[in-house]
């Protein structure tokens, strides 16, 4: 029996006013896989992510999540199907505490969010789950601190905690190491390595070397299309990879 892919993308096209951001992108990601998507600036990586997350709609082509067609599904519904994402530039709820940020993330999947009669601060089970999610990224000790008073690296971890709190099946990470110091990178990397295998991870990186040890398979994007695709060793050895990075 063939296992259904975690993510299956077919012939995805998207143009902006004649400019083709992605052209015929095909991508298969197996369940549990760690996939790295790299490519120079403007290669269409972020557009591809936005198409997967549902922020924009493709002109043609299809996206399927665990065998389910989601091409036309609104983004918030995709989250309910087990898709989570983080952003290259972190945008959370700056004035709220870390705890509350994570609680908002938990509420996103809970029917409780429509409830105008229950008070938020009385939801013990919710608070406990949020605390556990923060503990998982090592930030439990500063749970009552407003987000604005945290460092950029800490915010990155909060964002990951928020994504993991939703128990996603597929996690999209948009340049998770961007803007971090060497130490912070190490912390975040350790965090990502600790994510269990029932979560499939697709990560975008601009710089190939940063996340090389994390990736099992790598897709190199160039001019909106997947140019090279294969295992880590294959892609690194492929002359086209060098060409794209050095020639671009």
């Amino acid at each position: 029996m063939i296992q259904t892919s975690a993510l299956s993308i077919r012939k995805l096209d998207k143009s902006y006013q004649g400019l083709r951001a992605t052209r015929g992108v095909d991508l298969e990601v197996a369940p549990g896989e760690r996939r790295l998507i790299i490519g120079p600036n403007g290669a269409g990586k972020t557009t591809l992510f936005n198409l997967i997350a549902g922020e924009i709609r493709p002109d043609t082509g299809s996206v399927a999540l665990f065998g389910r067609e989601i091409t036309r599904l609104p983004s918030h519904r995709r989250v309910h199907l087990g898709l989570s994402r983080t952003y290259q530039i972190i945008t959370l709820f700056p004035r709220d505490t870390l705890l509350r940020n994570v609680m908002l993330s938990l509420l996103g999947l809970s029917p409780l969010r429509w409830n105008p009669l229950l008070r938020l601060d009385r939801q013990r089970p919710l608070v406990e789950r949020a605390e556990r999610a923060l503990a998982r990224v090592g930030l439990a000790h500063m749970k009552h601190r407003p987000l604005v008073e945290t460092s950029y690296g800490e915010r990155r971890r909060v964002e990951i905690a928020m994504a993991l709190a939703q128990n996603p099946r597929l996690l999209l990470l948009d340049e998770p190491f961007a803007g971090l110091s060497v130490d912070e990178r190490r912390e975040v990397k350790a965090l990502l390595f600790a994510i269990p295998r029932d979560v499939t991870i697709v990560m975008i990186e601009h710089d190939m070397d940063v996340a090389l040890d994390f990736a099992e398979r790598i897709s190199v994007m160039h001019f909106g299309a997947v140019a090279v695709d294969g295992t880590r060793a294959e892609v690194v050895a492929d002359p086209r990879t060098r060409e794209i990075y050095l020639g671009a």
Binding site: S75, V79, T91, D96, L107, R113, P116, L120, M162
Partner: protein
């Protein structure tokens, strides 16, 4: 203890409002209360959901005309009339809401203002058979006497309005602290992120829109019963910004801002109209100055100071308590 603290502010605010009635003429007090109910929906939308609602007069008119039409053509019980007004507002906002909440903020504001003008035009020129155009609907002698609180008497209406306002404020205070309230606030701050946490942001906005506009329709219904008369004047485009101005004057998103704003604004208009007949000039200038003055508004500036003044002895004793425990 906790519950008591929660209610304390609310009870004392409305106690003050009741005392206000001893100092100020009754019509003024009544108007202030209705005006603040009129404003709180707008305050919620602007302060907690981030929607500029420029079309509040439309929903006010829907409430007022639904109430007045019921009392003019069908029944005589003012309580039923007010319920009709609320139902009318609910129906109207459920009808236009799904269209409106899809829009970006600036479009939302403009479309709502257009709606207010359209409703004005409808009541004045199109639905003349029902609304009697500029002549309006006179219902003052159609109101039946009701036991307990007789709404046809201004002093009993005041008690009724005060009770309704208390209920409305308790509801909005609860809403602010609720899970849904937290989601609204989050939608205001970062709608995009919220969508990728699995929230249906349009749904959140739609519910807020319906809640707020139904409250506005309630104010309209109360106006109709209180004045005993409804005319297109109630949705006059010239006064479309009133609730927004009162919201900003009082302090956007603050609980008691609408009350403070309504007291000051109504007072200002009353005084000004004693000296000048040209009220447009006054409203306009007040509006511009309120906008330029600052973002916090009166209550937004006063509240932290009041809290400090009232709580400072308590705050001083707290660490000792903590130490003994």
């Amino acid at each position: 203890m906790n519950a008591f603290r929660w209610w304390r502010g609310l009870v004392s605010a409305f106690g003050l409002l009741y005392l206000l009635r001893l100092l100020l003429p009754l019509p003024f007090a009544n108007e202030v209360i209705i005006f603040s109910i009129y404003t709180i929906g707008c305050n919620f939308l602007l302060g907690h959901v981030g929607l500029i609602s420029f079309g509040q007069p439309a929903y006010l008119a829907v409430g007022a005309y639904a109430t007045a039409s019921y009392l003019y053509y069908f029944g005589t019980n003012p309580y039923v009339g007010i319920l009709m007004g609320v139902a009318g507002g609910l129906a109207a906002s459920l009808f236009v809401g799904p269209f409106f909440v899809r829009l970006r903020g600036d479009y939302f504001a403009l479309v709502n203002l257009a709606l207010a003008v359209i409703v004005f035009y409808l009541t004045q020129n199109v639905l003349v058979a029902i609304t009697h155009g500029d002549n309006g609907l006179l219902i003052v002698d159609r109101l039946s006497r009701t036991p307990v609180l007789d709404l046809s008497r201004p002093n009993q209406f005041f008690i009724f309005a005060l009770l309704i306002a208390f209920a409305v404020w308790a509801f909005y205070k609860y809403l602010d602290d609720s899970i849904y309230g937290a989601c609204c606030l989050a939608a205001k701050i970062n709608e995009n992120k919220l969508r990728f946490l699995g929230y249906d942001d349009r749904g959140i906005r739609l519910l807020a829109f319906v809640i707020a506009n139904t409250t506005t329709a309630l104010a309209g219904a109360m106006y109709a019963v209180y004045l005993g008369f409804v005319s297109p004047e109630i949705t006059s485009p010239a006064r479309a910004a009133d609730p927004l101005v009162v919201t900003i004057l009082g302090g956007v998103g603050t609980l008691y801002g609408p009350i403070v704003g309504a007291v000051v604004y109504t007072g200002m208009m009353d005084l000004a109209s004693k000296f000048m007949s040209n009220w447009e000039l006054i409203i306009g200038i007040v509006l511009v100055f309120v906008m330029l003055a600052g973002e916090k508004g009166i209550w937004g500036t006063l509240e932290p100071r009041l809290k400090r003044a009232l709580l400072s002895p308590a705050a001083g004793s707290r660490p000792i308590k903590g130490a003994s425990r």
